[in-house]
């Protein structure tokens, strides 16, 4: 059934952004929208840890140990599957390479898991070689809980649902396993430049 076109309706003014910066089907957003699938978790830093499971030995960092690791500031564009992109977002975080380098493994995939039960899956090569961080700062401030603080996964080259908020660790896997959204219709890989939003894209 074809929809009724509403005379004069345009929706929010949506900017298409500078040439080449914005993937197909996206528009540029100045705000930083908060998308929530549940209550915001609040883990006290004394209880927080980041774990990597499934390697030769389990690895674990407390908050203090994590913050003692070398970190960097990165500026990246981010792309949400709900069609907004935000350019030049500034983050502070620990490269995932720094963490994975301390674990002996031959995993092909990771399943990131978060407080509140959220999970998302990624190939190992998409979180290594400087492509991913565990971010604890945004725009010069500690990362807000509503944006995933104290720390979230940051994987800017994929749709932002892969950048798991409230991340608490990785499970190293031999085979790809769908996380929360991937089990519910979203694409297993999620490349915004190939517009891989849903199964079969």
């Amino acid at each position: 059934m074809s929809p009724i076109i509403s005379r004069g309706f345009r929706g929010r003014r949506r900017s298409e952004g500078p040439e080449g910066r914005v993937p197909p089907g996206q528009y540029v957003e100045d705000d930083f929208p908060v998308l929530s699938a549940g209550p915001t978790p609040h883990t006290p830093l004394e209880e927080w840890d980041f774990r990597i499971e499934g390697g030769a030995q389990p690895a674990r960092w407390t908050w203090d140990e994590f913050r003692a690791l070398p970190s960097e500031t990165i500026t990246k564009d981010i792309h949400c599957v709900t069609k907004w992109s935000k350019l030049d977002t500034a983050w502070e975080g620990v490269s995932v390479d720094t963490l994975l380098d301390q674990v002996e493994h031959d995993a092909a995939y990771v399943l990131a898991f978060s407080d509140g039960g959220y999970t998302t899956n990624l190939p190992i090569e998409d979180v290594t070689d400087g492509k991913a961080w565990i971010a604890f700062g945004y725009d010069g401030e500690p990362l807000d809980p509503e944006h995933g603080g104290p720390a979230r996964l940051l994987v800017p080259h994929l749709y932002f649902w892969k950048s798991a908020k409230w991340v608490r660790g990785f499970r190293l896997l031999d085979e790809d396993e769908p996380g929360f959204w991937e089990s519910n219709g979203y694409h297993m890989y999620g490349d915004p430049w190939r517009e891989q939003r849903y199964w079969g894209d």
Binding site: P3, I4, I5, S6, G8, F9, R10, G11, R12, R14
Partner: protein
């Protein structure tokens, strides 16, 4: 869309003519979907303001950052077509025949489905006692103010209590603060009367009012709630 009533500067009632409209129940809502020429779509839910006995109408508040509400409140003209789905709702409804006392608690635009219930009560000639506690920011934000005054003057079975949370006119003798347990204690029917309760507004408003009533001894099962998003808009 057939006709328009400007209720307050930011709020408009849209009267709708829908072919083969199956009728509706007081408390139900419609989903409105707008499609732009480039195919972009946006969808929002709006409560039906009219009683089942009246011509179908929805009341829409224009939200500051809204995407759909500015269009409905400012752009839409009589004769324009919009796409609707509904009526929707089987839980948050009140029907003549239910003779329990009814407590209605409205936060801002949450008044809309409760007004449909009040209008239905009047149209059906029901004698069920109704009390409305209606929270608005200022007197200018009170939707259906004159109609409520007239209905109250006409019928002792309907009582209306207003609270204005941000600003009150000179000589205001209503409440002047956010809803709290003390206010509910003064306004609500005694729990022992077995009243039905309908609360509508933002999530924070609804949760606070429901918690307040439970603390006063109301059975949670008799409290029906409908939460509006600020996702609406």
């Amino acid at each position: 869309m057939d006709d328009v009533v400007q209720e307050t500067p930011r709020v408009r009632t849209l009267q709708l003519a829908v072919p083969d409209w199956p009728g509706h129940r007081a408390g139900q809502h419609l989903d409105v979907r707008l499609t732009a020429e480039d195919g972009y779509q946006a969808q929002r839910s709006y409560s039906i303001a009219s009683a089942p006995e009246q011509e179908l109408a929805i009341t829409v508040e224009r939200l500051e950052d809204g995407e759909v509400s500015p269009y409905l409140v400012e752009e839409l003209r009589p004769g324009d077509e919009i796409e609707l789905r509904g009526p929707i709702g089987g839980y948050f409804v009140w029907e003549d025949g239910d003779n329990r006392p009814v407590l209605l608690v409205a936060g801002g635009a949450g008044i809309v489905p409760l007004m449909a219930m009040i209008r239905h009560r009047v149209a059906a000639g029901s004698t069920a006692p109704f009390r409305l506690l209606y929270s608005s920011r200022t007197i200018g934000d009170v939707i259906y103010r004159e109609e409520l005054e007239l209905l109250v003057a006409d019928d002792p079975g309907l009582e209306v209590f207003h609270t204005l949370t941000r600003e009150q006119p000179a000589g205001w003798d209503g409440y002047a603060r956010r809803i709290d347990e003390d206010m509910l204690r003064e306004v609500a029917f005694p729990a022992g009367d077995g009243p039905a309760v309908y609360i509508c507004g933002s999530t924070r408003f609804v949760d606070a009012a429901a918690d307040g009533l439970v603390a006063l001894g109301y059975d949670p099962l008799t409290i029906k709630t409908e939460r509006f998003g600020a996702t609406g808009g």
